[in-house]
Point group: C2
Chain length 422, copies 2
């Protein structure tokens, strides 16, 4: 399979990549501590020079979206970015740290765009999907409030593509533009591409110029991908978020998603900052090497897992399996919130416990909570002590079931709520 | 009144400006002839070196929107810009003439955006409205398909502003962004600013951070402007089109609109390419000194007039009165189209006629057509000869009324249709 890399970074020796990423990390952390107050709080008391490996990185606290939102809300009057960004406007712009744009994502959470080209690093994903200089890209992501449209456009511009900013809706006008301008490819959600193809089919409109697509924002079911293929469109997925930009992207090998070269990705046990073993499902935690918006160990709330082995296209970076669910499994039992971090705390107090999952069953008003814990050898009294710890940590009564190692499914679930939806 | 110019161009000696514009025009015409086939057709047989003054410029044919649309439709498969743009994608991008974006305006007409910062020159209008580096600009123009959002954003970025791309609709979310981010100013239509102010008032939301606004896209009635002022918002207008970008802008003097430094503006008799006398109402014809999209004597279809005298802010460029109506007064009489160009042709054949206006009255099925012609001294038989020319040019019977010079109103109307709307 032709590798056709975007740049020389993609085919680096993995050890060389690891060294380069961690060599870039230390100055990034120093910069973040100086220019972003939330990062300074996160890195408080840490010897940054020591953060030279994944083992050291894993000692830093994870920041999750609720904390980001909370800091933004608390500091709104002084800094709408809650101390996470190193750029802004007003006084910050005067200091030469001007943001190009500010976006609003649901929350509302605000994200800055820096002055550097391809701020979100989308060019690599577009390139893997076949986009090249000189192409016309039909961009059906929104440019309004949220950054998806701008994110893809910045990547397309970095590649030397021309972009038609289609946005969302106005299907008839967008179809007209596709018929008239004959774009080389599509960028947007898979469902809107389906709508365009359906409408074009109904009207007998010629839109065969589009031979490739980079889709994101929702799942791409295999049947839909095959439908695109039948229309002559090779559709590739990428995994990106408003805060972090590109995290991983699909390649012509179509085996999972290859991690982007501008981020350090870890998979951790939900509710903790502890990396899981390769292949185990956990929360995707990302550190971006972006000096303008340096998010450090940012918990995406998404579940995924490392896909072992190298990408057949010659890209040497680690692959992940794509989106496998939400990591924030917080639920309510008898009026009390129960959070993944609490399950982690229970397990921590009993070193014999390797993995644990709290299963909530029954129905509201008659809930049952059972901790299913994997242990190698169950010493006497462990069940009773675990029940005590459950009560101590959650303020709730719970049962305990001991399992042999490897019994729990590899699905990243720390809390499993089996109650019928009200 | 403080002048506070955007650059040194605004306060140039008018003669110096005129010399600079025409010095730039000749190479622009040469470039356009080489790289834009529609311009080559327009300039066919013309000695470009001779186009060194308004008198010479007035000899070039005017291009109007219907011709632009027609050329785009005819050449769609080869060149969606119809030969008017010097940039594109594909082969053109390979030649280093890549467009950054393509936009679709009603028609559909397609417009390119070049790689140069501030392609549409909006920064000057934003500056005159009080926007400065470090400001946060809330941009409520659409970024989708049409270029208004991108146009204002490019100008704001050229000034060093940060932009929140609000787009159209989603009023609640846009209001939330204004409350949270406290932008310095607003860019968008006046009617959407009114909606935002009304909704903020209903909800008791604090949006007093916005102290200035650049509005466009529709009229700004004096009452609405005063309402903005009462809210502490100084609102300024600008006149821009999707094809040409900024044409003229309001200044703190609030006396008409000052012409932008990057265009040559003429006011011509509707249906012709003949400049009217200063102060007379006619069609705004614009030549942009934009090598990427060099529109030469482009008839906007808008009526305006030169406002005599200099701008009290020290800006020395000519002022125009703003939008005074549509120049395309084509109408249908007894099943036949009658166009402003035909009225001009009738007058041309009789040098005694100084100005003429065709008045269509009665009602459909019983129309009456009267040519009202200003003449200094009416020689014998002129009325009969004019009736004959009317029939020759329009294939329709018409009456003639002779008037003394200065009798016709100064409103740019060449065809006045007084019939009741069906």
């Amino acid at each position: 399979m032709s590798a056709n890399p975007f740049d020389t970074l993609e085919q680096r020796d993995p050890a060389e990549r690891e060294a380069a990423l961690f060599a870039a990390l230390v100055p990034l952390l120093q910069h973040a501590r100086r220019h972003a107050s939330a990062a300074a709080a996160q890195l408080d008391g840490i010897d940054l020079q020591s953060v030279r490996s994944r083992v050291e990185l894993a000692k830093l606290p994870v920041v999750r979206k609720p904390e980001l939102l909370q800091r933004q809300q608390a500091q709104r009057a002084q800094d709408p970015f809650g101390g996470f960004a190193a750029i802004g406007w007003g006084a910050r712009a005067a200091a030469g740290e001007a943001a190009l744009r500010v976006f609003q994502s649901p929350g509302p959470i605000y994200e800055p765009q820096g002055h550097h080209a391809d701020h979100w690093r989308a060019a690599r994903a577009l390139h893997a999907a076949g986009f090249r200089a000189g192409d016309l890209v039909h961009n059906s992501f929104s440019y309004h409030l949220t950054p998806a449209g701008a994110m893809m456009e910045a990547g397309a511009h970095a590649l030397g593509c021309t972009v038609l900013p289609g946005g969302v809706g106005q299907t008839e006008l967008q179809l007209q533009a596709i018929v008239d301008l004959r774009p080389d490819g599509y960028v947007g959600t898979p469902s809107f591409l389906k709508i365009l193809l359906d409408k074009a089919g109904e009207g007998g409109l010629p839109i065969a110029s589009m031979r490739k697509a980079l889709v994101s924002g929702e799942a791409l079911p295999a049947a839909l991908r095959e439908r695109f293929t039948a229309h002559g469109i090779a559709a590739y997925q990428c995994y990106a978020t408003a805060d972090l930009g590109l995290i991983a992207y699909e390649t012509p090998a179509r085996e999972g998603l290859v991690i982007d070269e501008g981020v350090i990705v870890e998979i951790v046990r939900p509710g903790t900052g502890d990396p899981v073993a390769d292949g185990e499902v956990g929360e995707v935690v990302v550190t971006t090497l972006n000096a303008d918006y340096p998010l450090i160990r940012f918990g995406t709330g998404d579940l995924s897992a490392v896909l072992p082995g190298p990408c057949p296209t010659g890209r040497t970076n680690t692959r992940i399996r794509g989106w496998l669910g939400r990591a924030d499994q917080t639920t309510k039992v008898r009026g009390m919130f129960v959070q993944p971090a609490q399950v982690a705390r229970i397990a921590e107090r009993h070193p014999q416990v390797r993995r644990a999952r709290l299963v909530v069953s029954g129905e509201v008003g008659n809930d049952r909570m059972t901790l299913r814990a994997e242990v190698a050898c169950a010493e006497e009294g462990l069940v009773e002590r675990l029940i005590e710890t459950i009560r101590d940590v959650t303020k709730l009564r719970g049962e305990v079931e001991l399992l042999s190692p490897g019994s729990l499914p590899n699905d990243g679930k720390v809390i499993e709520d089996t109650r019928p939806v009200a």
